[in-house]
Amino acid sequence: MATLVLDNGAGSAKVGFSTDKEPKIIPNCVMKAKNVRTRIFIGDQIDECKDLSSLYYLLPFQKGYLVNWDIERQVWDHMFGKDCCKVDFNETTLVVTEPCLNFQSIQEAMTEVLFEEYQFKAIYRCNAPHLSQYKYSKKDSQNQQCTLLVDSGYSFTHLVPFCKGKKLRDAVCRLNVGGKVLTNHLKEVISYRQLMVMDETYVVNQMKEDVCYVSANFTQDMNIARRKGAENTIMREYVLPDFSHIKRGYVRQKDDPTDKTEGYEQTIRMNNERFAVPELLFHPSDVGIQEMGIPEAITHVLSKVDEELHPHLLTNIVLTGGNCHLPGFQDRVYQGVRSLASDEYDVATFLPPNPMTYAWEGGCLLSQDPQFHKMVLTRQDYDEQGLAYSLEQFDVS
């Protein structure tokens, strides 16, 4: 019997069978292109779209929670269907993630949709950090009992401490800063300073992924960014796509003889934007979000758990989610936590090779656990025992 693992993120869904090497990463949304009026683009169908300017997004998630089922079902129909995963529902167990502290009624809807509409044979619902923690404790650590999981995704960043595989529920914390806020902020900044790009979410998000980084020394980088000419080592010229000659944005390499486009294309100067935007993860108050940044929030989580656990959690900080791909992220978290934590304790962070798909990998590993078949909820159980029973089987809230 097959097991499909779906890390159902608000930004992108990571989906694939437990036997696959890596998941498909599918935008969890439906898009409309300004210049393509004959069709819509569901999830990764966007790869078929040649003009990615002014995309209009329909998202199933709001503030990190699944609220629009019409859209989610369109994406899932495509994802499970013949063009993508070709799921044989009657013979498939689904491992699916939900956000931390998911609302009761969303959990109900989820259970109902998966069993009644898609007719999965069995399901296993959990939080993504649970799967990451599972993988970390089994594969990437030396028999560690504790994990402090940082999951920095599209809508928000969660900090989840675990002890002996169990989530310390009362100490789970959330910062309302994620990749979406970063991209939106970058759009605002560029639109104010240089060029109106408020409608170019797709392009600006790509630009963010191409040139943004987390600064190791914010003040120093600010000073460098103020310099002119060659002394400014931060400045990059980003060539925007025009979707006729230039299919994708890129950083202009100085004196690149193969770059023949010079002079005709639109460019954006990326200077302090490169690091001031990701800085929001560390200083949300820079844009008026009155919340702690990630390192400070980590110490806040510690203040909510038994002090005995502090040294174990501090040496097992695991960084997952798309924002961890930002260069410099790991060093900055380490630096920040190191400077705040007691000097009696060691601090160590772990950045998986692919922080975005780590939870998915954990789901695959979990499905091979000898006990896995006992953890799932079958459709038969659901039919016989009802919804209330079905909800109690999983610890998602």
Partner: protein
Amino acid sequence: MAEKRESGRVKNAEQKRVLDEMSRRRRQRKALEALESDNFSEDPHADLKMSKKAPKFEEAIDANGAGKKKRKSRGDFKQRYRKTFAALLEEEQMLNKEGPTYFSACVPPSKLPERHFCACGARFCCVKCLGTHQDTRCLKWTA
């Protein structure tokens, strides 16, 4: 003589609008909402009349789901689960009285002092930048 000397800059500054606390807060809230928004412009296909075969979108989830045709197989599902984030959150607060909640899980404000930047990246960088701010009446980073 001293009172006759005046600076154009100071004089100008007096004409500048000073926001009261309420408007500042409103502005701040709007700025935060903008950071959450999915799209800046309206649906570019809003004027299209979808044919019956074309997939339909109902992006505005109206809380009661009234007036929408439902597919038979989906039964009353939509009715029960068609709720906005705000409605779901309210419902969750009613159901979940103990243990951590959406609100309690949010990290508190930082203990570190706030940093202030203008559009150029620094609070005061140069007179030229100040000019841009005044010309555009930029309030983004003042609120």
